[in-house]
Symmetry: none
Subunit: 226 residues, 2 copies
Amino acid sequence: MGTKILLVEDDADLGMVLKQYLESSDFEVKWYTHPKALLDDADALKNNQLAILDVMLPEMDGFTLAKTIRQQHQIPFLFLTAKGQSIDRILGLKLGADDYITKPCEPEELLLRIHNILKRQLSATPNKTVNLGAYAFNPALYQLVFNDTIIQLTEKEAELLSLFLNHNHQIVNRKDILEKLWGKDDYFLGRSLDVFMTRLRKYFQHDTRISFDSIRGIGFKIEFPE
Amino acid sequence: MGTKILLVEDDADLGMVLKQYLESSDFEVKWYTHPKALLDDADALKNNQLAILDVMLPEMDGFTLAKTIRQQHQIPFLFLTAKGQSIDRILGLKLGADDYITKPCEPEELLLRIHNILKRQLSATPNKTVNLGAYAFNPALYQLVFNDTIIQLTEKEAELLSLFLNHNHQIVNRKDILEKLWGKDDYFLGRSLDVFMTRLRKYFQHDTRISFDSIRGIGFKIEFPE
DNA sequence: CTCATCGTTAACCTTTCATTAACCTAGTCT
DNA sequence: AGACTAGGTTAATGAAAGGTTAACGATGAG
């Protein structure tokens, strides 16, 4: 499971659709219909990486929520706004939000915005590294550190590694990887992924606790030490 | 907490959003809904470094306020104007605004203007230099000093260098640079940035601790010594 | 009008890196 | 066993990104 997203949307149908769509894109979604329900749930706000708020929500609560999110939890948020709404209002909101998007919206566009925000977020916290046994990985810098030497990964290598980090101790489908990194929806013939697997294995060859074993016909089993 | 800003904006929502946004950008904001309230508060006008005024405000008071600010407190100010309004009219008021910005506005643009104004303000009090290894940089004068010789940078060179100084030891996205210095939101084709990179590299060639390595497809990794 | 400045464009060259090709090795099926 | 297929590995390839230099052209000052 991937990044956690808070969704506040009072329309039941739209909320459900968004939740499902985002989950199918490998996000973990908590959906609330009202800001109040969310504010009452103390744990809810923790450990999320993005909030999506519907501006049509009863307004004061929406504002309070936005304020809380911005001040106390410092996660980015994105507003959903209906088309007819007052321009000043929306653009005012835009000032406080990291982005906004007008309903109805293309799912692809929503995803794009989400990824942009998360990427910005990522590059704003540059020195945060993930410990991987004898290695350390800095996702923002695409750097792998081993024995005081820095290995500069390419973009695709880093993307692939990041994906694996979100699926530690799990088996990842070959197709899922291809869809995520190559966007192929049809079946994929090339061998690029295998070449990248070789490269990653070579990078991590000095720590035997790290492995990407292939499961024939399925995908790869990911193992990083805790 | 950073620089103090006076905000006069009568729309409650927009005011709140602006206040929050600016506070999140590390400014200290005093927000008044009406100029009168501000004029009545004798202490309010002291110790601020910038005022942001909504031109939609009841005109006479707004005019008086601007006059007061300019004559008695000598802090710079910035007008918010709605899109339909004539810019000429505002300029015609000869209030001596340091800048104006039309609503709706991009958050980044607002911040940029604010920083520009404060920078101009700052450059009136010069000779504050930043140490860069064997070099010294004076952002206000666009000057680089090396071995007692002064290298006069152009405006864009200095802007680019300043941007990099704010991102030491980080990877800066190519797109972010282009957006910030060239304001291109669409896809950018030109090679100006690369030319400037060459120029900066040439300036700094005598201190190997300073580097701007390119990360293909991403941007540049900035390194200055501490 | 002339000259200098400076951001931009043009042209050409080098480097990078995802992909492909080619050849292996190891499972799986009959 | 032999045939077939998925995956491993290595090297070659080619398109695109980036580096560099020179020339261009807008702007503004004298």
